[in-house]
């Protein structure tokens, strides 16, 4: 027996870590196209109800996470409007599944993602897009070849924020999909469970260290990506 034995992770803890990473990555990737679309609509669109959309997008930032989780449960539970629709037509079940955890994390990170992308869209010089149009590029091409590369730093920042929020998300997830080991027990939920049982401190500490390592890695990766992209977009 070695003195560092208490650092060895149990299979159950590994499961929580893997689940957390899976949930966060899925939440980030799936919400990205929606995030870009909503950011475009808010930055460029002129339509009725724009401020309503803006408010709805920002709600998860302001509401207590438990409220967001409860609203998700009402809407996406088996008997909820959206939940029964998804089950009947696509056979998708969200409540008490890891997919539901991903939805909760995605919703909680959405305002952060949209905000970051929206700011970078607003910073794009429309004149440059006009120049591309006069060279024959239609709106889709202008977006793909000009706008998207120019907002890439903002998109990356938005993705990292969404991922970080998902890693740390607790309240909405536990309300919506509960805390089922192996299915919906994410890193945060596992730490919480450890603190609820006598002698669980060592486990909580192990997972806390893992959480710190993952967060630092994500932060460094984003800095590195932003540096790479920034070099290309603004070579000064």
């Amino acid at each position: 027996m070695c003195a560092l034995d208490w650092l060895t992770l149990s299979p159950q803890e590994w499961t929580a870590i893997r689940l957390s990473l899976k949930v966060s990555v899925v939440a980030m990737v799936v919400s990205l196209p929606f995030g870009i679309l909503v950011a475009l609509a808010l930055a460029r669109g002129k339509f009725w109800g724009k401020s309503v959309l803006n408010g709805v997008v920002h709600l998860p930032l302001i509401l207590p996470p438990v409220v967001t989780g409860f609203l998700l449960l009402v809407a996406f539970g088996r008997r909820g409007v959206a939940g029964s629709f998804l089950y009947e037509y696509f056979g998708i079940v969200l409540s008490f599944r890891w997919t539901g955890a991903a939805l909760a994390c995605g919703v909680m990170g959405f305002p952060l993602m949209v905000r970051s992308i929206r700011l970078s869209i607003e910073a794009v010089d429309r004149g440059i897009e006009e120049a591309a149009a006069t060279l024959g590029a239609g709106p889709t091409w202008v977006f793909a070849t000009i706008t998207l590369p120019l907002i890439l730093p903002g998109v990356i920042a938005g993705m990292i924020l969404s991922f970080a929020k998902a890693m740390g998300e607790f309240g909405a997830t536990i309300t919506f999909v509960s805390n089922i080991p192996g299915e919906t027990q994410t890193l945060s939920a596992a730490i919480y469970s450890f603190t609820q049982v006598p002698g669980g401190d060592a486990g909580a500490m192990r997972l806390t260290l893992v959480a710190i390592v993952i967060s630092m890695a994500a932060l460094l990766a984003s800095e590195f990506l932003a540096h790479l992209v920034g070099k290309k977009v603004d070579p000064q």
Binding site: A131, A133, T134, L135, G136, P235
Partner: protein, 358 residues
């Protein structure tokens, strides 16, 4: 080619109500800032949809408000050069230049990359990033980018206005070559008399959103249609001639006009090349006797052909120097003192230094 424009457009309190036609060559839209030149060129480019009117190019309707027709910018194939080059910051110069080639129809795609970069002198810049270019270089790349998209028409919206005089002098020769060596029609927006005089075949003078006058540069720039004081100060005559000789030792060249010769600075020219000369009227002096002991190199003999006295106490005197009409801007007092009348033999005195190309 023919371009017909007849549009009405309101921008806040400003009303644009302009109509003109162009049939090839370089058409200058000329006027003060706020006269509607840029709005008009944006409408032609398809970047602004006018409230009312028609834009027609070679028989194709691009805009017709009554029929609800509006062809968007990317389907018009009109190359644009803007005041600030608007290069794509995330692409290098070569990628910027070939951007438009992707979208040009295969049939129209001419293989002229090398010719265009040679014409604009940008061979050395190809691998650089736009951020590392000077203002003049950027503008040359922007012109190249527009040319390489195989445009049917080239729209240039004050391409030199954001540059200092040295950079302007760097680019104007390229624009002159462009005019000579390609047959793409150009709409050139400018508020500078000197640029318009050197480049335009036709001038459309705009004021407060209306077309005030249309004609050749020598007709429009002679002065009478120019009403503001600033424009009048810049009024002058535009003469066409050929380079007859150079004097490399003194850095001078001689231009033969219809009936007289004139010496200008600049030894880097080809003899025999046709050139257009803009003589600002305020740089021309009038003498009733041939002056002696004078530093000015150009003393042209002629007769008074026209006198118009303005309300500001200044007079524009047209002098017919054996076929070339030279305009002089002098005070009404001088007109009286020299007792200038139509037909009186006089001498037009022009300093060579005043003809320095800017």
């Amino acid at each position: 080619m023919t371009l017909l424009v007849e549009v009405k457009h309101a921008l806040g309190a400003f009303r644009l109500d302009a109509a003109f036609a162009s049939d090839g060559g370089v058409t200058a839209l000329f006027g003060r800032s706020g006269s509607g030149k840029s709005s008009l060129v944006r409408i032609i480019a398809g970047l602004t949809r006018p409230d009312q009117g028609q834009v027609k190019f070679d028989g194709q309707l691009l805009v017709d408000s009554k029929a609800g027709i509006f062809v968007p910018a990317h389907k018009r194939r009109f190359g644009c050069v803007f005041q600030n080059a608007r290069l794509f910051p995330h692409l290098n110069v070569r990628q910027n230049l070939v951007y438009g080639r992707w979208f040009a129809p295969k049939a129209a795609r001419s293989d002229n990359f090398d010719r265009v970069i040679a014409l604009l002198g940008i061979e050395a810049l190809l691998e650089r990033s736009p951020a590392k270019l000077s203002g003049g270089e950027r503008q040359r790349v922007a012109i190249g980018r527009a040319l390489l998209s195989s445009p049917r028409l080239l729209l240039m919206d004050e391409p030199l206005a954001a540059l200092d005089d040295a950079r302007k002098a760097e680019i104007i020769p390229y624009l002159e070559r462009l005019r000579h060596e390609t047959n793409i029609p150009i709409i050139y927006v400018s508020h500078s008399v000197a640029e318009v005089a050197r480049l335009a075949d036709r001038v459309v003078l705009l004021r407060d959103g209306h077309v005030e006058a249309v004609g050749t540069p020598s007709e429009v720039l002679r002065g009478s249609p120019l009403s503001s004081v600033a424009e009048r100060r810049e009024a002058g005559s535009v003469l066409t001639g050929t380079f007859a000789g150079i004097d490399p030792a003194h850095g001078l060249a001689t231009i033969r006009l219809s009936g007289s010769e004139i010496v200008v600075p600049n030894a880097e020219v080809t003899v025999g090349k046709t050139v257009r000369l803009h003589i600002p009227a305020r740089d021309v002096m009038v003498a009733t006797q041939r002056p002696e002991g004078l530093s000015a190199l150009n003393i042209l003999e002629g007769r008074v052909a026209d006198i118009s006295v303005g309300i500001d106490g200044m007079a524009n005197v047209g002098i017919d120097c054996s076929g070339d009409l030279v305009l002089a801007r002098i005070t009404a007092l001088s007109v009286e003192r020299l007792s200038l009348v139509l037909g009186k033999p006089v001498f037009a005195v022009i300093k060579t230094v005043a003809l320095e190309s800017r």
